[in-house]
């Protein structure tokens, strides 16, 4: 990307928002340059560099809403985009509610832009990853994965006087080591690529792979499990997708519908969203410009909150919680900076507390749509499943399928680690899910 365009983006936003043709105009802009260096069989096989932008314009004429978007920053394209949004607003029907975009806001100071990430060259990144390839060769494993970096900026301007700007960077390494039936996984995400120990993570994935060799079968059934953070992140992500957003709450498919204030899981479970917490991939505002703040979702097992944007909040007569996606995204708002609160046990002590059971490193292809009201989910274990006896790993297991009501299972949590780990959550770079290790007394494996 040819540098950041803060002034130009804000200027274009102000020009569009100043148009007198609508009761309200919002300009939501995002520019990004991303590079993804994919590797397989310990060699780079795909390199993808994309520079793109999105300019969304949402207009209100009375109670009518029109949205149009373009990826061109040219003035003529933005003017056409505004005309399209106005045309849609004139052509569509009145909403039964009046959408209220936010006015001017004060934002917390969040630093998510790091020159180390923005300036990392292909040669530097390829050389770092290739040093991991050479180590893997000695270990007898093959490495696959990707090193991705993003440089971006977001601008929100609206006709109520709101103006918001935020630059950011993002770096993510995922490494899968494989050898025969065995595999291991490690990943890290940060705004600052210099904080990612690329070689160390690739080595960690290789070590797990080697421990996963010669897997044995174990019959389906209900087992005590120790889920590592990568596995927990999948479950919390699906909880968010199926139940923490306003749309599923409204249409009653969500597990929190009609249950706010009730105990929905065990007291050891606290899940919240906090876009300002630097441990996640922080951002000061959402894509309507509403400030980020902590939103309790489940507090000590009790259903506490739901994520709203201005649109869904207007429908329900509430205030936005700062979870708007781009205008026109019909999936509705979701928490995008999720945290599951850590506990008081050191992760290293958790296998001992498990005693006899199964240690799960990661899940694969989890699906939470079997019965979202009951948080019934299924998925496979992947990249390391181990049988534990008397607190010691005995041997690796073949991948197993779980089918489980997750909130019920969370009601059986015996221990939660102090340590947490952060993972990307969804497509937008500045979203994350941060979770601990958890020990559950009874988790159903069905095949």
């Amino acid at each position: 990307m040819d540098g950041l365009l803060k002034d130009r983006l804000i200027s274009e936003g102000e020009r569009i928002a100043a148009s007198a043709q609508a009761d309200s105009i919002e300009f939501v802009a995002s520019r990004e340059s991303s590079s993804t260096m994919r590797f397989s069989s310990s060699r780079f096989h795909q390199g993808i560099s994309v520079t793109d932008a999105s300019f969304h314009i949402r207009v209100l004429i009375g109670r009518k809403i029109g949205v149009a978007s373009t990826n061109s920053i040219e003035r003529s394209a933005l003017d056409r985009c505004l005309d399209e949004a106005l045309g849609i607003a004139r052509a569509t029907r009145e909403e039964p509610f009046l959408l209220k975009p936010p006015g001017p806001c004060r934002y917390a100071r969040v630093n998510s832009f790091f020159e180390s990430t923005a300036r990392a060259s292909y040669d530097e990144k390829a050389s770092l990853v290739a040093s991991g390839f050479r180590e893997a060769l000695v270990s007898g494993v093959s490495l696959s994965g990707a090193l991705a970096t993003v440089v971006g900026e977001a601008v929100i301007v609206n006709s109520r006087g709101l103006k918001a700007y935020h630059p950011y960077t993002f770096a993510h390494l995922s490494s899968v080591a494989s050898s025969g039936d065995a595999s291991g996984f490690a990943s890290a995400v940060s705004n600052d690529i210099s904080r990612i120990d690329i070689k160390g993570l690739m080595r960690a994935s290789a070590e797990t792979c080697l421990r996963s060799s010669f897997p044995k079968e174990t019959p389906p059934g209900v087992y005590r499990v120790l889920l590592e953070p990568s596995a927990v992140s999948e479950l919390v992500h699906w909880l968010s997708y199926t139940g923490f957003g306003a749309k599923s709450f409204h249409d009653k498919t969500g597990f929190l519908s009609e249950r706010i204030g009730e105990a929905v899981t065990g007291e050891k479970v606290t899940i919240y969203d906090d876009g300002l917490d630097a441990k996640g991939m922080a951002i000061p505002f959402d894509f309507e410009g509403s400030p980020k703040k902590r939103l309790p979702l489940i507090e000590r097992g009790v259903a506490s909150g739901i994520a709203y944007d201005s649109l869904t909040a207007s429908i329900e007569g509430r205030e936005s919680t700062g979870h708007a996606s781009f205008p026109g995204d019909n999936e509705g708002p979701f928490p995008d900076h999720l945290f599951m609160e850590g506990g008081d046990v050191a992760a290293i002590d958790m296998p001992g507390l498990l005693g006899d059971g199964i240690l799960v490193k990661s899940f694969h292809y989890v699906n939470g749509l079997l019965n979202p009201r009951e948080t019934l989910m299924t998925g496979m274990t992947r990249h390391g499943t181990f049988l534990v006896r008397d607190g010691v790993v005995k041997h690796a297991l073949r991948p197993m399928r779980f089918t489980e009501k997750v909130l019920e299972a969370f009601g059986r949590i015996e221990a939660v680690s102090r340590e947490t780990a952060v993972y990307p959550n969804g497509a937008f770079p500045l979203s994350s899910v941060t979770v601990p290790y958890i020990l559950i007394d009874g988790f159903s494996f069905t095949s």
Partner: protein
Amino acid sequence: MGMKGIFVSILARLKKLGVDYADIRHERIMTESMQALDGEVEGFSTDTSAGVGVRILYRGAWGFAATNIVTEESAMKAAKEALAMARAFSAVNTGKARLSVSEPFVESYSTPYEIDPFSVASDKKISLIAGVTGAALREKGISSAEAFLEFSRAEKEFCNTDGAFISQTILTSGGGYHVIAGDNDDAQVRSYPDGHHGLFATRGYELIEELDFMGSLPRVTAEARSLLYARECPSGVRDIIIDGPQLALQIHESCGHPAELDRALGAELGFAGGSFLTPDKLGTFRYGSPIVNIYADPNEPGGAGSYRFDDEGVRAQRVDLVRDGVFTGYLTSRESALAVGGVSNGSMRGEGWGGLPLIRMSNVCITPGQGTLDDLVSDTKDGILMSVNRSWSIDDRRLNFQFGAEIAWEIKNGKVKEAFRNPVYYGSTPGFWASCDAVCGRSEWRLWGLNSCAKGEPMQVAHVGHGACPARFRSVKVGVGKP
């Protein structure tokens, strides 16, 4: 200078810089989408996205760069970016990528349609989706209803150093709706004509008119309502019949994805996984029973995954993936085809201008057999009929799967009996397809279309079609929805 002139100029400069191969793709995609919720317009938006992507093979290493600024200067800058990445890879890689030969076509193509959806009055489209969701909400027991329409026109131009120049216009229409029957204890969804936002096809607005949303509504709402009082689908080993939309997803996950040769060669191991259909199995592996025949064909008229040339400039071709139950073919690219001693069958597609072309399903279809669904039900003594996908999960080699459907009905002595809710079935891919003993005939066969097939990093989403009809599978494990 037109796009072709820009392409030729950039490719000539890249040749001077020593590239083994390069191609350029320019796309402009216009999208219109609208949604209605409970009788009100929930969203109505348009999007225009344009850009150019340059793919380079340099000393056996790949680089791809794309930009949203469509000028010669910007495209050349992207080309140099791709070259810089390829150079960095070539300095550390072992082994070199090579390409199989491909004829340099100079052609243009547009998908046919009857009614341009962009020319249809907005009010007509809004009335349709607001009308069907409003009518649904007036039905007893229905707590919410949502409807969708989406139309896109992708104008593409492709040029490569072999001399190809291809322009294509792909028009896609899609839509559907779902209703939710809900009370304080449960919420059950029924979708029409399929889950996953309905049905997509490379057709015009005539598709939406044929779908007849309003005509289907009484059945769909009645089924949703019935699920609130239905029994949970019982567990056990049963004969099952799965209907067209559900079989489409079964084909998608357990045949289409594993037959992608890049996946089988390990290109996706770092993300979604590999494939049990490894090259050593080609031509010999018993994938299913002898009545199972599955093919991929981008030329299938109206398919969501239809095109004439792929994004490597290779002509679209039909390929038999499974013939008489035996695994016989892969979806291939110019590079991967060399691994199985062949040339590309034209299966590379990128999402828009910014997506690196990957091997993607086009229209992966089962060959119809004989008879109607009624015939099949009559021929089933004790079984379960499952309809429309609700949940999907499969392991990283595409073997261990579990699928949930929106609704099921018990079949007793050749008759459809009571409805079951939350039906789920599971198994292992070859064993499941080996148990297939009946596939309905052409009259029950239909091209289903999805707009949400995900693959790669950064994740790309593709439209894919699946020709499918009801089929029967013997002795399948069902009903593990409640452990």
